[in-house]
Symmetry: none
Subunit: 200 residues, 4 copies
DNA sequence: TATGAATGAGTGTTCATTCAT
DNA sequence: GATGAATGAACACTCATTCAT
């Protein structure tokens, strides 16, 4: 049907766009089929059920995110640079799939027992990955005393929330589409400055 | 039905609880009726449609929020105190209606044309309300240079995201219910410290 | 809608006609709704699910049958008269709901675990109800030696099968509708004579 | 696929097993294909449609049955022996395809116009085949007066019904699988004795 | 001859909404 | 005001069937 036969992949990618880019969090199978340009029944042919498709999408997208994030946090680079990389990746990812975080939030609200599916499954928490480096920086006076948990939550909040709340922010602050985009690009430096006492 | 004639109010309040406190973002009219202890058809008698009821709920809850926030930002108190009050109110509100922000985000994604409904309708933006005071503080060196928009977005992000992402945060950082609650309480000081370079 | 408000009863009766009289053993909810002259959704309004409706129908019809049959077998009448009554009831019931037996058979084939639903739930088996009387008759020479089980199975077979196989019998023996009906009426005496060696 | 080219035959045989032996009367084309170990589309390649396949199965199975039955009824043997042979064949056939009769009954109920398909197509009715011999026996006093039609219906009823109603009978009379099987074996003599006045 | 991919029609079910009372 | 009954539109899902290869 579509181009060269990888219909299954096409459906998955189009569904990701619908769910995570366009924010249609409760898209119907018909909407997914329309987006992919295929018959509705094909979704069941390839994925058996809407729920199974969604689990697959999340599995893929969360695993990819987890791997990227861990690679960044485990890299042998100075702490400030590491955090800068983290922000950059979060914003980049957020621009591609702005509603992914919202989706995860909504799903974990509805099905708290599925939270493991959406989150890092391994023992290594992000807050523990940076704990030592963070404490060293604090001792050096590069930033004020703060626990690793609060530091990570601050970081993630300032990265993700502006993506989640795109429409609200644009409206409240009267931003055009390009102004909002420019605003997001500025945030990398802003977040860094806000987290660290002494700007470069 | 319930007491005398405030049935309309009862439905609204119970619906708010269902939507914004219990997080049943796609509650059916039957679920709303059950929560309010009334017949399903009454919801249409009073509110014409499910959608219209929801618009009303948001109108009310957002207006209340807006009024509280403006009162806080317009009060004649030192800047740092003003921001502290803002955080306190956000966390308090967030504990009462944890799913309100998530609801707004989801709805504005699905119906961007409704964004005005959910947002401050007047001309006075929060960022403008604090602009002068913020710049004065920056000149005093109380905090590093930052635009009012970024400052407000940082503030709102660090307040709201941890409420939105409750289940994710609890899972990722392995927090019990009470540990999470304690964590939230700590955030008032943490956010203040993070926003202002030089802690008192 | 239909006549005087007992829509729920109308649906049940029309469904019985469809299932057990017309023999549409796998009637869809649409067919049931059409038969009853109501909207398809009403079936779920009153009975929640197709399966639940069918369980109700069977419960009703099987309980009624069981009660009638037990009353007949427990009555204080001579054995031959008792069996005559049994046959009469079976043929009468069979004329009203010819496919009930077939339905029970098909359902017990598909869901052997539901067999209890369709059968007599109490301990009193029909074969035990007649055992003593039957043995007395055999001793009297009214009929040749036979176990109660085989006697009952013979009886039920000769009553039910001609109803079940109506269309086959009509075709094989070239019967018109009225000829078939006449044939059924004759069977009461035929079955009695066949079971009892020495006719009165 | 299976061996060489008798795929068509394999499908038919496996379908017979599924429908008439296992009692899956509404088996899907996928189930048929699985049973035969072939691709689902092959069923349409060979048989055009599910319905056409089923018509073929019945054609075959009914023709075979008809031929066996006619050979039995036309054989030059004493009447009682002839009927004994008929019973034996019916029980044997019933043990091989217990759900065939049920299937025929259900299908003729839903599609009365197809009844010819399921029945003997020739003019020679079974009741006519035995008429002369039966009347001779009656004159001899070997059995009480009865029409050929009623005699045949009695015979067929007592043979087929216990097979059809297997699960019901087992439940009502509390029979284990082997007890039921033993019960069926006994029926040959029981039916003969019931039909004929003077047992051998 | 055989198969994976694709589809239209239909299934049971849910739900917001309407209406008569 | 308030309610039980009724309905149309939609939903996820199934299935027989077709088609290109």
């Amino acid at each position: 049907m579509i181009a060269e036969a990888q219909t299954e992949v096409v459906i998955k990618e189009k569904a990701k766009i619908l769910f995570f880019q366009k924010g249609v969090l409760n898209a119907t199978t018909q909407e997914i089929a329309d987006e992919a340009g295929v018959n509705r029944a094909l979704i069941h042919y390839y994925f058996r059920s809407r729920e199974h498709l969604m689990d697959l999408l999340l599995e893929e997208i969360v695993t990819a995110k987890k791997n990227r994030k861990r690679a960044i946090l485990l890299a042998e680079v100075p702490f400030r640079q590491k955090i800068a990389n983290y922000i950059e990746d979060a914003l980049e990812q957020g621009l591609q799939y702005p509603y992914l975080e919202n989706f995860i939030i909504t799903e974990t609200a509805r099905n708290p027992e599925k939270v493991n599916l959406f989150c890092f499954k391994d023992k290594l928490r992000s807050s523990e990955l940076i704990k030592d480096q963070l404490e060293a920086e604090i001792r050096k006076g590069a930033l004020p005393p703060i626990s690793a948990e609060h530091f990570m939550v601050n970081l993630v909040s300032m990265c993700n929330y502006p993506l989640l709340a795109k429409n609200v922010i644009r409206n409240v602050h009267g931003m055009s589409d390009s102004t909002y985009h420019q605003f997001l690009l500025e945030r990398k430096e802003v977040i860094l400055k806000t987290l660290f006492t002494n700007p470069h």
